[in-house]
């Protein structure tokens, strides 16, 4: 965020007020207002009721020297908190990424843009379903479903806030603003809006821009009058996490044609530049997050994230995160597996495991053939770590969906893949992808590796940007207005592309000439 000028949503202002006397009997609030107008150029400031209730006492407690915490959202400034005397903590704000699976809270010093602390945990909504659809279904089928789901996510956020505030010895009342980025379903549930119609044709969300609410209305445990901003969405399956990601890449301000890929369950894609942007969601499924794969797991200790197969001896070398004994395979390990198994002739381009070659490692399992990466004696779980034919088909579908999404989107704007100047890979998973292997299996287009860049959790980065820069809020609303959503279920272009991509790397090998197929 170096190139962004800091003009945060919240500021602490220390004010030495003129003391009242019989000739100057202006009210306490007017005195504050006058001071802000004269010394800080802030006109028309509002005040929260709780701040107003303690105003008179606090002003006198500090002998008319007070610290005001002011939140400015789109030219509308409001005093959220007042303290006696000089500020005893920096001006603070929270940037929150409400992911379907994990929630991350960053505590930010809004004056210098530094992350004071960060905490993340699993979204408690998982108890009601592991994906957004199951959770919508839960809302629909249970009378108090929405209430429970909202409570779950609020609790998750509150616990994280508690953790970081306690660790840094900060009072709740010192947090006057919070910016949240989440997909459309998460945003709806967070704000207690029914998500029912998001999943039903023609896939219409309740809203794509959300009002600013007070934390007390949501039950968020910070200053009760704190402003909670929920970042705007584009469509039912392209939400505030994506607009936020786009904001953080600054692609909406660049002339370079940028492809933004969120390699997650929804597989959101955004293509464009400062002139125009299109997006789609290609529903890749959770395979790359380790879900739905026999030995799949999230990228944590014990997860295989790198493998190599010797083409002569068929010996398999693996590396597990944290140098632990392998327990399972995470997304990047799966990409390596597919690529290595293909290169060493264990599978064919359709993903079938072949009989020949390493016969000890190839065997018949319950769900068809499987390839043993790690034998039980070397694993951390005492069980073999395998990749089954079913897993491979699952991965091929996931990579096929993302590639087909990219192709369909390019077709819509009638551009060639070579027109892309750079590719940003987002998502918690993005940090672990090896580009060469991802191209080798046909997950990403065959572009020079130097066009690719990882950007990690761009959703929370975008939320931080908004927190630190008032203009960013206008920018992100503009982004949400400008992005053209492409519905992939209309027409059969996507389906044709998808079927062509159900091959490693693709049915049309000409698309992958650079990687030397």
């Amino acid at each position: 965020f170096k190139d962004v000028e800091v003009n945060p949503l919240c500021k602490k202002i220390y004010a030495e007020l003129d003391k009242p006397d019989l000739t100057d009997s202006m009210s306490d609030l007017d005195r504050v207002r006058m001071h802000l107008m004269k010394n800080c150029g802030i006109e028309d400031v509002k005040i929260s009721i709780s701040a107003l209730r303690k105003l008179s006492n606090v002003v006198r407690e500090g002998d008319f020297n007070i610290t005001l915490t002011i939140v400015t959202i789109k030219d509308s400034a409001e005093i959220i908190n007042i303290e006696a005397g000089k500020p005893d903590s920096p001006s603070l704000g929270l940037a929150v990424d409400i992911g379907t699976t994990t929630v991350v809270v960053n505590l930010i010093d809004t004056e210098n843009g530094k992350i004071i602390d960060s905490a993340g945990t699993y979204n408690k909504q998982s108890a009601y379903g592991s994906d957004v659809i199951s959770r919508i279904v839960y809302c629909d089928e249970n009378d108090n479903g929405l209430e429970l789901l909202q409570k779950a996510v609020i609790e998750t956020i509150n616990e994280l806030i508690d953790t970081v505030l306690k660790k840094n010895k900060i009072n709740k009342s010192d947090i006057p603003v919070m910016v949240c980025a989440g997909n459309t379903v998460m945003s709806h549930m967070f704000l207690n809006m029914p998500p029912t119609f998001i999943r039903l044709e023609p896939y219409v969300p309740g809203a794509s821009k959300y009002p600013v609410v007070s934390s007390k209305d949501l039950g968020i445990n910070i200053n009760p009058d704190a402003k909670v901003i929920t970042l705007p969405s584009v469509a039912s399956y392209v939400g505030g996490d994506i607009t936020s990601g786009v904001l953080s890449t600054l692609m909406s301000k660049s002339e370079l044609l940028t492809l933004f890929i969120d390699v997650g369950t929804n597989g959101e894609l955004v293509l464009g530049n400062s002139d125009w942007m299109v997006s789609c969601s290609c529903s890749a499924g959770p395979a790359f997050e380790g879900s739905g794969i026999t030995c799949g797991m999230r990228a944590m200790d014990g997860a295989i994230d790198w493998i190599e197969i010797d083409k002569e001896s068929m010996e398999v070398k693996v590396r597990a995160i944290g140098n632990k004994k392998p327990l399972g395979i995470c997304g990047s390990g799966l990409i390596y597996s597919l690529s290595e198994m293909l290169d060493s002739g264990i599978i064919d381009r359709a993903g079938n495991i072949l009989e020949n070659g390493s016969s000890i490692r190839v065997r018949m399992g319950n769900e068809g053939k499987e390839f043993v990466l790690v034998f039980a004696k070397d694993s951390g779980s005492g069980r073999d770590v395998v990749v089954t034919e079913g897993d491979i088909k699952n991965l091929i579908r996931a990579k096929g969906a993302i590639f087909a999404g990219i192709r369909t989107m390019l077709q819509q704007v009638e551009l060639d893949v070579d027109a892309i100047d750079r590719v940003y890979i987002a998502g918690g998973f993005g940090n672990y992808i090896n580009i060469t292997d991802a191209v080798n299996i046909g997950l990403f287009p065959d572009l020079p590796a130097d066009k690719y860049a990882y950007i990690g959790n761009s959703s929370v980065h975008g939320a931080m940007l908004v927190l630190l820069c008032q203009e960013a809020l206008y920018e992100i609303e503009d982004i949400s207005d400008r992005i053209t959503y492409i519905e992939l279920s209309i027409g059969n272009k996507f389906m044709d592309e998808f079927i062509s991509a159900l091959f490693i790397p693709h049915t049309n090998l000409n698309l992958f000439q650079r990687c030397g197929v």
């Binding site: 659809i133 039903l200 992005i483 053209t484 279920s489």
Partner: protein, 444 residues
């Protein structure tokens, strides 16, 4: 060459106001490029953009209307050479010929017969479109009398066939207000025919002898009148096919204006069977109207079906017909698998079920061609909808048992499905690849 969405976008106001019904200016531009909306939906578009876009986005083939009210048919306004590139939009119109030599009861019988060429196919009413009265007698008054009769009694719009401007003038006196298609202007008569077409504001067919003469004639005519339909005057099938292709190709690929009109074709054969085969080539290959002599239901029905099929929007997900499929030598005890009607899903399941060597039924539920999880996510593969289809597809008569295997991925619907359908639900494997071993354990 037509403008791309991005080209058009550059000329739009970029307000993203949504007043055109599209979410963004780019979406509007893409819809314009695909001819799915019109520029006048945008209230803020500049005059300059209108000029640039108006010319560029003008349809390569003009839309021409024949008939009025219920009888009105639209022809032309096509944009592709192959239906899979987008779609064919305006189905070929069929005209059945009537000779003006017929009079009295004979004429009535013929009109009655044509009025009867109405069919019901897959729930839709379809019919022929025009009655084409031909001035076979060569007499202007006879022609006008026949036209008057047909106009009064026939349920379809008219095509008036005569190259004699006097006969046409008389016919238009009695039927000019029904917006008939005037057939036709030729090199010899075009000035008078254009006058007539203008006078009654009716569409006019222009016939030349071959591509070059036709183009030259259209250019002369279109200088003063533009409601045209063209006929390149061929009556040999192989040549007609080549010329229909040329006219469509030149109008779309080269924006060759003289061919930017719908095309009318005549069958040349006398044997109805040959005629129908000829007409079917015209339907597949760009004719906007076909004039036939055949008038038996059995001869016309296949053309109706062909027209519907060719002009179906191909931009639909690939799906199989929703029904109960028997795989192998099924008996009353064969297992029953349920899946969606998405082709890819269905054939994956079908492959594994037949691979299991245990005969079974597969029920492909109507999910508009989407997969199991997508169908579940979008509320199209739900206990209610599956139950409804179990009743509708007739499986209850085909098997004695009441056991249903559902995909493992939607195990969550087991309870509700059992409750609603009354069938016992067995959760199958998550992947179809697990079906052979699953079948062996459960049904061998």
């Amino acid at each position: 060459m037509a403008l791309t969405g991005l080209d058009i976008f550059k000329l739009l106001p970029k307000k993203n106001c949504k007043e055109c019904g599209q979410a963004t200016c780019l979406a509007f531009a893409m819809a314009l490029a695909a001819s799915k909306t019109s520029l006048d939906k945008c209230p803020y578009v500049s005059e300059e953009a209108k000029e640039t876009l108006g010319g560029a986005s003008a349809p390569p083939i003009k839309l021409v209307k024949v008939g009025k009210g219920d009888k009105e048919r639209e022809m032309g306004d096509e944009v592709v050479l192959f239906r899979h590139d987008k779609a064919f939009y305006h189905p070929t119109c069929f005209a059945i010929e009537i000779s003006d030599k017929l009079t009295g009861a004979e004429l009535d019988a013929k009109i009655e017969k044509i009025n009867g060429l109405v069919f019901e196919r897959v729930g839709q009413k379809v019919s022929v479109d025009f009655a084409a009265v031909r001035n076979e007698s060569g007499n202007a008054d006879t022609f006008a009398a026949a036209v008057k009769e047909v106009a009064a009694k026939c349920n379809f719009a008219l095509v008036l066939i005569s190259t004699d401007p006097d006969a046409m003038a008389k016919a238009l006196e009695v039927a000019g207000d029904t917006n008939p298609l005037i057939y036709c202007a030729t090199v010899e008569n075009y000035e008078k025919m254009v006058e007539l077409a203008k006078k009654y504001s009716c569409p006019l067919a222009v016939r030349g002898n071959g591509l070059e003469e036709t183009a030259a004639l259209v250019e002369k005519v279109s200088a003063s009148y533009k409601e045209l339909v063209i006929d390149v005057g061929t009556n040999q099938l192989s040549q007609a096919l080549a010329e229909l292709t040329q006219t469509r190709r030149l109008s779309i690929k080269k924006k060759f204006r003289p061919f930017g009109y719908p095309v009318i074709s005549f069958t040349s054969k006398d044997n109805p069977l040959d005629e129908v085969i000829e007409a079917s080539v015209f339907v597949a290959k760009y004719a906007s109207a076909v004039v036939l002599k055949a008038d038996e239901k059995a001869q016309i029905l296949p053309l109706m079906a062909l027209r519907m099929n060719i002009y179906t929007d191909p931009q639909k997900p690939s799906q199989v017909e929703p029904k109960a499929y028997a795989i192998g030598n099924v008996t009353k005890n064969s297992p029953v698998y349920v899946t969606t009607n998405f082709s890819l899903t269905y054939y994956t399941v079908e492959g594994e079920v037949s691979g299991s060597k245990i005969p079974a039924y597969i029920i492909s539920c109507p999910t508009d061609g989407i997969s199991v999880l997508t169908g579940w996510a979008a509320g199209k593969f739900t206990p209610d909808k599956i139950t409804e289809f179990i009743k509708a597809c007739g499986i209850e008569e085909l098997v004695d048992h009441r056991n249903l295997v559902i995909p493992g991925a939607v195990a969550v619907i087991k309870g509700a499905l059992e409750e609603k359908s009354g069938w016992k639900v067995i959760v199958g494997p998550s992947e179809a690849s697990g079906i052979p071993s699953f079948a062996k354990t459960h049904f061998a």
